[in-house]
């Protein structure tokens, strides 16, 4: 029967071509959007983890409450002990300590007077150890634009955009003006070792990176750190494992009455990322539901048009004794074949388009100038196993639904009227 119906569809293109094209277009759009959103979100999660939150982050309770203000007066103290404990208790993660800070970078003229001054967002990370995981996590080597990587205490990396704005070259001196952990103003001289560009708008606007121990000294944070970050070695965020780990850590270490006791948080629960990820998930679902709904209406309409054209055919088939159920079933099977063909075609085109964007990406840097999320300037689609099946079900479902609704007309035909109809 399927072979018979397939032949019919192939021979009568008006029955197959238009519905297949509609389904293919819808499926292609769904597949492409899904891969695109996936890519954008994966990039956002990865960048947020690398530059901001880690996959899990340990802070003091008080720091966590005001984390957006970078309150180093509420930073962790005794971090070496805590770090050792974390490495021992959770050996599967890479643990690293960081100091985040804000301040002004002041570039002197030849007399030592301020020539240029601009606000900066800084990170103190372990740069002077060859074994530091930060080289890989922050992707520092490939990000180097000019100069060289820090080799000694007092070396500083600054964003290339910032270097251009301040008109400074590698090798020049600059003074960081910031606040110590105790609120005093701090002044620290650095040598600009090199300039960097991560391709993440928010970082490239104003970031400076200094060695962790230099920043401890500069901000009077002996044995202190803003936060300790944990990363999974495969660089993927494993939410379920992270949730269990966070519950275990907080139950063991967090004292509910002590505001400086350490608390661990997952990537998802930080920086408003959970709201954002939930929103994206809802948005993706909405696209799929909307696609099925619109496609169903279009295919219903297409089915009605086809039924009208095949009005005589159905009448003849009923007149020669074919059951209404059988005709309806054949219509459904036809639509199933159309749905499969359309979905295959749509998925193929959608995946091809997404793969192209996965390789080449799309530069949205100019649109992200004032963005505060960790989006990369070049957004890439991400093709993954789910990309191949995400459009399939909606494609087939929409076709079936369209045909099922339009095919109901078959049951409204009166056998007694058939010959009269055929005569006209």
């Amino acid at each position: 029967m399927i072979k018979f119906l397939l032949k019919g569809l192939l021979r009568d293109r008006s029955r197959s071509l238009f519905p297949v094209l509609i389904v293919a277009a819808g499926v292609m759009l769904t597949v492409f959007l899904h891969a695109w959103i996936n890519g954008a979100i994966s990039g956002l999660i990865q960048n947020t983890a690398h530059y901001q939150t880690g996959h899990v982050r340990v802070m003091t309770k008080a720091y966590a409450m005001h984390v957006d203000q970078i309150p180093n007066d509420l930073a962790l103290l005794g971090v070496d002990t805590l770090l050792t404990s974390l490495r021992k208790t959770y050996p599967n993660l890479l643990w690293t300590q960081r100091i985040t800070f804000g301040g002004l970078l002041d570039v002197p003229d030849e007399k030592g007077e301020t020539k240029e001054q601009t606000p900066v967002a800084g990170m103190g990370v372990n740069l002077l150890s060859a074994n530091s995981p930060e080289w890989k996590i922050l992707n520092i080597q490939p990000a180097l634009v000019r100069g060289e990587l820090p080799k000694k205490h007092g070396d500083l990396l600054i964003a290339e955009e910032l270097a251009q704005k301040l008109n400074v070259q590698p090798g020049q001196k600059a003074t960081l003006i910031s606040s110590t952990m105790y609120g005093s103003m701090s002044f620290t001289n650095f040598t600009i070792a090199g300039t960097i560009r991560f391709g993440v708008g928010q970082m490239d606007r104003s970031v400076i990176i200094a060695d962790f121990s230099d920043m401890q000294q500069a901000l009077d944070m002996q044995q202190g750190a803003s936060e300790i970050l944990g990363f999974y070695p495969d660089d993927l965020y494993h939410e379920d494992i992270a949730d269990i780990m966070v519950s275990g850590f907080n139950a063991h270490f967090t004292n509910t009455t002590e505001k400086f006791s350490p608390v661990m948080e997952t990537l998802r629960n930080q920086s408003g990322l959970s709201d954002y990820m939930d929103l994206v998930e809802k948005f993706t679902r909405l696209i799929l539901v909307f696609f099925i709904f619109v496609m169903s209406i279009v295919l219903w309409n297409s089915g009605l048009t086809g039924s009208l054209r095949r009005y005589g055919e159905f009448g003849l088939r009923l007149a020669v004794g074919e059951e209404k159920d059988h005709i309806y079933l054949s219509l459904i099977i036809e639509s199933l074949l159309i749905g499969i063909a359309g979905s295959l075609l749509g998925t193929a085109i959608g995946v091809a388009g997404a793969y192209y964007l996965q390789v080449h990406g799309f530069d949205i840097g100019s649109m992200m100038k004032n963005n505060t999320l960790m989006f990369t300037d070049i957004i890439r689609a991400q093709v993954e196993p789910s990309t191949f099946i995400i459009g399939f079900l909606p494609g087939i479902l929409a076709t079936l639904l369209g045909s099922a609704i339009s095919g109901i007309g078959i049951y409204k035909r009166q056998t007694s009227q058939l010959f009269k109809e055929l005569e006209t």
């Binding site: 008080a62 007066d73 301020t114 606040s179 110590t180 105790y182 609120g183 005093s184 103003m185 620290t188």
Partner: protein, 245 residues
């Protein structure tokens, strides 16, 4: 007995005289009492933060309202840090970097040495009659002293504290308490004078507790260790060159 008679005669008169003073006149008298052309003072600030207290010692030379030079003496980390106020400009020198840096813009609103005082507080014109109009709101007793409570309203915009409520000692014409508020009326800082002292016929706050209401901790105690009014101050101090000496 004769003295008692004269005292009894003049007591109601002085009280009457006191009551007839307007808010602005009281503010002027406070200004006349507190303000001296030149002064040299050594002081220390006990900053009570969330993680303990810190002691910061400093020596200041002040000439008029527009010029001041301060050198921090302790703790070791701050020792040698100097600040120079000339007109509306404020420079700071840090010996560790050997740099003189102009403090401007939003940096002025930052806490000075982690205290409850901001650099903007340092830059403020100490002649309050120039900045505010005063009205007597009520009378209260503070630390056992009879006080006028004055409501001060800024005469111009672009001022750190749009309004203030001050408690003025009726006899000594010194502030015993201040509430500093934003334009919205929200309380920003409180100042409590814990001890006053008489220096060269003037009453001056010796021990003051500053509290920034938005900061955790128990505030900053400011204590004057020594003060010389109308002192002779060398001219060279009020130059940027003095910062590096």
């Amino acid at each position: 007995m004769k003295y008692l008679f004269w005292f009894a005669l003049f007591l109601p008169l002085t009280t009457l005289w006191g009551q007839t003073l307007s808010g602005n006149e009281i503010l002027k008298k406070v200004d006349q009492n507190m303000f001296s052309e030149n002064k040299i003072l050594t002081s220390h600030m006990m900053i009570h933060g969330e993680r303990g207290s810190r002691n910061v010692e400093a020596k200041s030379w002040q000439r008029g309202t527009k010029e001041a030079f301060t050198e921090f003496l302790a703790p070791a980390r701050e020792k040698g840090t100097k600040m120079l106020k000339l007109q509306d400009m404020l420079w700071t020198y840090s010996p560790s970097t050997d740099r003189t840096i102009l403090i401007s813009g939003h940096m002025l609103r930052q806490s000075m040495m982690g205290s409850d005082l901001s650099y903007e507080d340092m830059m403020e014109d100490p002649h309050l009659p120039n900045l505010y109009t005063a009205k007597i709101a009520s009378e209260e007793t503070v630390n056992g002293r009879q006080c006028w409570v004055l409501d001060l309203t800024a005469k111009k915009e672009d001022i750190a504290y749009e309004s203030r409520k001050v408690w003025v000692d009726k006899i000594r014409f010194v502030f015993l308490k201040e509430n500093l508020c934003a334009k919205s009326g929200k309380l920003l800082k409180t100042i409590d004078v814990r001890e006053v002292m008489e220096v060269q016929s003037r009453w001056i706050a010796k021990s003051v507790l500053y509290k920034d209401v938005f900061k955790d901790g128990e505030g900053t105690e400011f204590l004057i260790d020594s003060i010389v009014l109308d002192a002779t101050i060398p001219e060279y101090l009020f130059s940027k060159a003095a910062l590096k000496k």
